[in-house]
Symmetry: C2
Subunit: 228 residues, 2 copies
DNA sequence: GCAAAAGTGTTTATGTTACACCCATGT
DNA sequence: ACATGGGTGTAACATAAACACTTTTGC
């Protein structure tokens, strides 16, 4: 069947808010724009959606192309379409957010053409388009989500210590948490598998754990609800 | 600045999942399609986004045009863009969901050209496009949202009884709730204003309440978090 | 032996659940 | 007077919060 709509069409893009955690604060991955408009400004990785690809695919492709990231946790965030958000004309953007583990982080100041760099979420430079707003919305979503879904693990190495996990929660939620209560509560879910592996370094070694995705999925199917 | 992108563009539409509550179960407002494809099928109200209008505006306009609804609670849900979801070609749809009060309900079997009718969410007819999926996603979102944001009030008359409110929660959450505990908890928020107005009818009159939106907004600004 | 981070239990306060009877009205 | 839905409190239980010291390592 031929495609016969006569309506004018907005351009359609995807943009990705990529979150990372370095042990200290939450970071966002930005690229320097190599094209007008906003040439040279920091911006979210993203670009035009191809005619035959799904929206998620478009987001993954752009991430790959502009930041060399693949295999990340990715979720649709919100669609931004206010007329005027792009100086060139009507552009509607489907925004996504991604969570990447430290071991997946591309080096800041990557050799590639499109320079990508991590920026602390609370000290962002001026950004192209409405990307500041998009990041604000992504942060809000992440803050809400982390409390009732175990997405935090996507920001940590596969093997992590309870202290790392706690620091992550503290960084995202923006408040301190009692160590004993935190550990008690998380271990009570019985979703963290203790490993026979420990950190080494200047101080007492800490036990490493991994998150039991399989068990979590099974529990969810049986109506289980993770909460903080 | 002229608009110079050379990329092919998907068509862009909005679709609205309109929820209503009649005291029994949760309902969705559907229209019969007056055009191909899916002529005569039930579908969500929706249509093409104009070049100069915001996405929310487009959703409100389509609601007005197809169901005569205005002034409803409206929120963006998700953007559906899988190639093939529309037999005519690539169409990306930004889905919204709306909550309407019983006193705003358009009469089922409206006189207008586009026939609109309420359908119980758990007994939907076959729908056009991927609208069944869109409704499923909207329901999921509503179920999640009602527990931590006081959106339920948008589905009730401005003045309502505690029993109505409880029935609504039971309908959406799909389980029964203890009457005394429910009332205790809700009244403890101190966000329901008791009125000097009562229902009349066959039995003991029930006190009417209204939700204190102002106070809620103020509390939220001070970090308050409504939950169940 | 000291600095630095890891690890561990108990008590108290708070919130959640379970549960049964009387009340006001229309017919 | 009876049928129907409206309205109310308390005790048991479970969950969350507060809180301080010992352990292990590298230097």
């Amino acid at each position: 069947m031929p495609f016969t709509y006569e309506y004018p069409r907005p351009a359609l893009t995807v943009d990705c808010v990529v979150f990372g955690f370095d042990g200290g604060g939450l970071q966002v991955l930005l690229i320097r724009r190599a094209l007008e408009p906003f040439l040279g400004s920091w911006a979210l990785p993203g670009g035009f959606v191809d005619m035959e690809e799904d929206l998620d695919q478009a987001a993954r492709r752009e991430l790959q192309e502009e930041t060399h990231l693949s295999q990340v946790y990715l979720e649709q965030l919100f669609t931004f379409g206010t007329p005027g958000r792009d100086p060139r004309g009507r552009v509607v953007s489907v925004a996504y957010y991604a969570l990447v583990r430290p071991d997946q982080h591309p080096a800041t100041g990557d050799s590639d053409a499109s320079e990508a760099a991590w920026h602390p979420v609370d000290q962002l430079p001026p950004l192209a388009f409405d990307h500041t707003q998009i990041i604000a919305k992504a942060l809000e979503r992440l803050r809400g989500k982390i409390r009732y879904q175990p997405v935090g693990f996507e920001l940590l190495p596969k093997h992590f210590t309870l202290t790392q996990l706690q620091s992550l929660y503290e960084a995202i939620l923006g408040r301190t948490i009692d160590k004993r209560n935190f550990r008690k509560k998380l271990l009570a879910f019985d979703l963290l598998i203790p490993l026979d592996k420990f950190t080494s370094g200047a101080h007492r070694p800490a036990r490493l754990y991994r998150f039991d995705h399989r068990k979590y999925d099974t529990l969810v199917r049986h109506g289980f609800h993770f909460e903080l």
